[in-house]
């Protein structure tokens, strides 16, 4: 059964865009924050909401260097891509950091 969501905010679209590169790779929170210009207090509620709605998936990844903590990584899902494409097609503007400068 499909669920209906509110139209995503510009910040949400920016997060989905940051995750939707040509190769669906895993991204860390810091990378998404850097790409979108969102602060942690704004970024993580969006990530949580997207994850709960199945628009992105997350997993804990082992640290690249020993002694560092594991990091939580995020990847857009097919449903997330569909929502992003629909939002962009209907004229929602992504809230990229360039737009705020």
């Amino acid at each position: 059964m499909s669920r209906r969501f509110r139209a995503p905010s510009p910040q949400t679209i920016a997060v989905l865009q940051a995750l939707s590169g040509p190769h669906a790779r895993w991204s860390y929170g810091l990378e998404i924050a850097e790409a979108t210009g969102l602060a942690s207090g704004s970024l993580y509620p969006i990530l949580i909401r997207l994850a709960e709605r199945g628009l992105l998936e997350s997993e804990w990844q082992d640290p690249a260097q020993p002694g560092r903590p594991a990091r939580h990584a995020y990847r857009i899902t097919g449903e997330g891509r569909a929502v992003l494409h629909h939002a962009l097609a209907t004229g929602r503007k992504p809230g990229l950091k360039e737009a705020w400068r």
Binding site: G29, A39, S40, Y44, R68, H72
Partner: protein, 199 residues
């Protein structure tokens, strides 16, 4: 421990248990940061506060409203503005009725916090009562009556002996709370299966 570490620790203290995984995710990024840690940690606190308000905000508002309401009882009772004097008798004391009904509702909503809530309500009520007796009453009616005048004028089970009144009110809270808790466990299956931890 840096100020940023302390702020992050505060975020962990604020966040509800169910969100620990996400806060750990934020902390992992915090550990990877070389600059701007304080700003990131402040964001963690903001997110944790949001979670806490979403989880407990309504309950806190209800508790504040209930505390305010029961704290107004001394004025209502002693000035008899809203409650007929005939009701001020043992067994029908409106203070006890108010507390019981309020605690039924609060106990049904958060069954596991009813003991704490009972003490909060009764303590707040008596603190406000002291304020009324020692500040409001002398200001309105003069010092010649003295702060204990309301006690002496309207002697009943609630003020014949101070401790009797306090214990009666705590008993009303506990009674109402446990009735509410029983109702909650009866009609909310998620509580019986232990899914609503902390509620």
């Amino acid at each position: 421990m840096t100020p940023a570490d302390m702020v992050l620790y505060l975020a962990h203290r604020i966040a509800p248990e169910g969100r620990a995984d996400w806060l750990n995710a934020m902390e992992a990024e915090y550990q990877a940061l070389e600059t701007g840690r304080l700003r990131w940690a402040l964001g963690c606190v903001a997110v944790a506060l949001g979670w806490r308000v979403a989880r407990d905000g309504l309950y806190a508002a209800l508790l504040c409203a209930a505390t305010w309401f029961v704290s107004r009882d001394p004025l209502f009772v002693y000035e008899a503005k809203l409650i007929p004097q005939e009701l001020l008798s043992f067994g029908l004391n409106p203070v006890l009725v108010h507390l019981t009904v309020i605690c039924v509702l609060l106990g049904a909503y958060r069954p596991r916090q009813i003991v704490l809530v009972s003490f909060v309500l009764v303590t707040a009520k008596h603190l406000y009562g002291l304020y009324v007796w020692y500040v409001v009453w002398p200001r309105e009616f003069g010092d010649e009556m003295g702060p204990l005048w309301p006690f002496l004028q309207r002697l009943n089970i609630m003020n014949a002996h101070f401790l009797i009144g306090v214990w009666a009110q705590l008993g009303a809270c506990f009674t109402g709370g446990f009735i509410g808790r029983a109702l909650a466990y009866r009609f909310r299956p998620s509580l019986r299966s232990g899914k609503a931890s902390g509620q």
